[in-house]
Amino acid sequence: MVSSDHLKPGEKGKISITVNLAGKRGNVTKRIRVHSNDPLKPITILTVKMLVKNRLHLNKYNADEIFSKKCRTCHVERGKGKSGFELFRADCGMCHNGRGTAPSIMEMRKKPAKFITKAIREGVDNTVMPGFSVKNNGPLNDPQIESLIRLIKPR
């Protein structure tokens, strides 16, 4: 929206831009082209950008908070009763997709099995990687964790 579309020499104007964020996710960029009768700049491109997150993801969290009640629907329930790749897609894929800060399966494969096992069971300190084993108050039993280790490090 433009405040006034006819400006005398020296006059000021405003262009307001509103982006509705419902349903948007990740990096969002919007470009607005301003067409005018300025012969040197017939088109000016205005850019707004932002990183859009779900309301629940705006804050920094301690890793194990993703097992709490308000986060379970997405971070725990979907993986119930699953194993292997299905389980990885449900519980791990949202972070380990190669796009964020968490490494992809291929990158993790380079690490020793022992390290991977420890990371999944106990989590990784100072990151949002929680410990998934029941012993660490996580949701996954031993056979499930075993299936994930097998997936990341096939023998």
Binding site: H6, P9, K12, I17, S36, K53
Partner: protein
């Protein structure tokens, strides 16, 4: 005579070139940073006409 015409021409060019609107924005880019899905992102860009003819904004198109 030819030369006079040429000099006249030279004198006229800057005048003609100057008589035009000139759109000028303070900034053309804005970064909202982190936003929540249930908000709207609103920003106002300020601009002015730094030329000496009327500036007309024909339209805004989004992409």
């Amino acid at each position: 005579m030819k030369r006079v015409a040429f000099i006249l021409f030279l004198l006229l060019v800057p005048v003609v070139a100057h008589a035009q609107p000139s759109i000028s924005f303070e900034t053309m880019e804005y970064d909202f940073g982190l936003m929540s899905q249930d908000n709207k992102a609103e920003h106002i860009f300020e601009f002015s006409n730094k030329g000496d003819r009327q500036l007309v904004i024909d339209k805004l198109t989004a992409s």
